[in-house]
Amino acid sequence: METVAQDIPLEHFIMLSGVLFSIGVYGVLARRNAVLILMSVELMLNAVSINMVAFAVYTAPTLFIGVIFAIFVITVAAAEVGLALAIVLRVFRNRGTANVDEVNTLRW
């Protein structure tokens, strides 16, 4: 296997993926607009993909499952965003707001 770079330790990628995931978690929990929550979910999915690809390239380049995983994550994330935005549009049409705190009719 030809090598591209030799001076970036694997831990850098793992830490970057962890930080991105945590920022996504904060965004999902703190934001009130439904579309912004979806953006934070996209951040989390990208963090997972970075992690998978880094592991595949560093530890198992002949069995690159991480790259295939990242391709499928991107595919499923695109499908999920389309569907989730359709739901947000429907909720906005019925309730007049895209704010998840105000859509609380089903609460006790």
């Binding site: 880094a54 499908a79 906005f92």
Partner: protein, 164 residues
């Protein structure tokens, strides 16, 4: 050289992500999401997966963010000025920091299985070969997922005759 590239991309990614979760305006958050995802694409180029970088730019930068911007445009409320964050944001910040701490501890405690610090190139032709031979069933299922999402999105967001 590659280290400088990695740090630039990491700064773009983390800066864009912090902007997405902290910025007041929703459109700025969407544009900063584009910045962050393009940073991830640059990171994929550093990891010698140019196909993945291409797919990332195309799908995320071309389709997902455009869709998000359309949804932001269509679900805009007239009276802005309310806080973009919910009342539970201190707990959310605590959770985020605790997660980062957990990742750091876990990463320093584990010995990762590798011989060297080398980034090896995954040949592009073998990705295509694996995707259609070994991973053919997940590939077909993914196309089924896309079909269901497409039909479902149209059905959910469709406006019937006489509906508001």
């Amino acid at each position: 050289m590659t280290q400088a590239f990695f740090y630039i991309m990491a700064a773009l990614i983390v800066g864009g992500a912090l902007g997405v979760v902290l910025v007041r305006s929703t459109v700025y958050a969407a544009l900063l999401l584009i910045v962050s995802l393009m940073g991830v694409a640059g990171l994929y180029i550093l990891l010698a997966s140019e196909f993945l970088a291409l797919v990332q730019v195309l799908i995320y930068g071309g389709a997902v963010t455009v869709l998000l911007l359309f949804a932001l445009m269509l679900t805009r409320v007239r009276d802005l000025g309310e806080s973009p964050n919910g009342a539970q944001w201190p707990f959310a910040a605590l959770t985020g920091v605790a997660l980062i701490a957990a990742f750091a501890v876990m990463m320093s405690e584990t010995t990762w299985p590798r011989d060297t610090n080398e980034i090896s190139v995954v040949p592009f032709t073998s990705i295509g070969d694996a995707l259609f031979n070994r991973w053919a069933v997940p590939f077909e299922i993914a196309s089924g997922v896309l079909l269901v999402a497409l039909v479902g999105a149209v059905v959910i967001a469709m406006q019937e005759e006489g509906e508001a």
